[in-house]
Subunit: 241 residues, 2 copies
């Protein structure tokens, strides 16, 4: 009898926005694992504070590297591949021995998530189920107080890590826009938004659905960088009765 590996999306940060299924799996499953930065508690782990069973066995999978080595360095892929192989071996062993295992995932696991690196390695070896979740971008546009898309609007989701030309092109062609992974790319993101004619419509949402949530026009934020939990949205203006 094998168990099942559950990749459980926890949503944008507010535990009240977890799905009923995710809530149940986190409370009832004995083996709980999550990815996190070395030496940190982990964002996913923080969302479910106080929810584990008393006899829970936990397994923090600490990234050996995050931003210390640039993505373009071949060592980056090498080190991460070894890390995923090792983490997955542990998950597989537990599940193969008959235990269910929950992997906590911030946001939605299949939407720019880190669980998919484990998923692709394990899906043909053990039973894996993915529980979708409310995305951080849904929490951001909800916090912004206006619908992101109407009618036939085209919504594009872009990462601030893209090069400026690609960013600007995608921004110019979309009716509604979500920009994530901004951080130190903020000056570039601002330039691309301006060139695409969308700078004055951009709204900055920080910590959507979490403590410290703030919403302001991007033009009123004068920093050069943004914390991880920051999303820029540009609302579509499509057809409406």
């Amino acid at each position: 009898m094998t168990g099942t590996l559950y990749g459980v999306g926890l949503g944008p940060g507010d535990p009240d926005l977890m799905s009923v299924r995710a809530d149940r799996l986190v409370r009832q499953t004995r083996h709980i694992a999550w990815f996190c930065k070395a030496g940190r508690k982990g964002r996913a782990r923080s969302i479910v504070e106080g929810m584990f069973r008393e006899d829970a066995e936990t397994f923090a999978m600490e990234y050996p590297v995050t931003t210390e080595i640039p993505l373009t360095d071949p060592r980056y892929n090498e080190i991460l591949s070894a890390f995923y192989a090792e983490s997955c071996a542990h998950l597989e062993k537990a599940v193969a021995s008959g235990e269910d295992m929950v992997v906590l995932c911030e946001g939605d696991p299949f939407f720019y998530g880190s669980f998919m690196h484990a998923y692709t390695r394990l899906k043909d070896r053990i039973p894996v189920q993915v529980v979708p979740a409310i995305t951080g971008m849904s929490a951001a546009w909800t916090a912004s107080g206006a619908p992101i898309t109407w009618g036939d609007d085209i919504l594009s989701t872009v990462m601030g890590t893209l090069d400026e030309t690609t960013l600007c092109d995608a921004m110019a062609r979309a009716d509604a826009l979500v920009v994530m992974k901004i951080g130190r790319n903020l000056p570039k993101v601002r330039r691309a938004l301006a060139a695409a004619g969308k700078a004055d419509k951009a709204v900055l949402v920080q910590y959507a659905s979490m403590q410290g949530q703030t919403v302001c026009p991007l033009s009123e934020y004068d920093g050069e960088t943004l914390p991880y939990f920051s999303i820029i949205v540009v609302h579509g203006q499509g057809r409406r009765p």
Copy 2:
């Protein structure tokens, strides 16, 4: 003392994928309203079957018209505007008299939802809170069994109701793709996908997270039209260790 109007996203269809907050609001609130096609139960209403309080008071807001008049006909906007005005007057009256009111919304209310037509009319008149939810597209890519986006992938969400040139252009430029509102636009959507070089990567998901869920390559579906609950996804192939 006024109450609060809650626009409650119910997610993609499986009640187990409702948020903990949505589940609580639906079970505990006495006044429950929803939009639906005339003479139909309504998709949102079906999701919460059996969850209402015993003393619940319900209010079905039946669209006077859906596809009988083309979107381009000026009467369409006129009729719908009058309908929204009337529905909103009812919601406002109940809330202003001190009652909380839940409006059931399929999917995420601010993502191509119909609640936003009520929201924009009422948000400056009474307290309105929106509860985000898991989108139908999240359920679709989860059902497809593969992550929709990796690394720096650009995800574009497009409606099958767009003209073919716009569709094709948006499809060609995105790494990952979600197509909704397909229905009778399927032949046009197929042509646009082919012209954009993505036809052979397109996956058709019907009834994601619902009874009757099916997943198949779009090329294996030989119909000329699709039911409402159909989403086409094209998975991104971005950076991965």
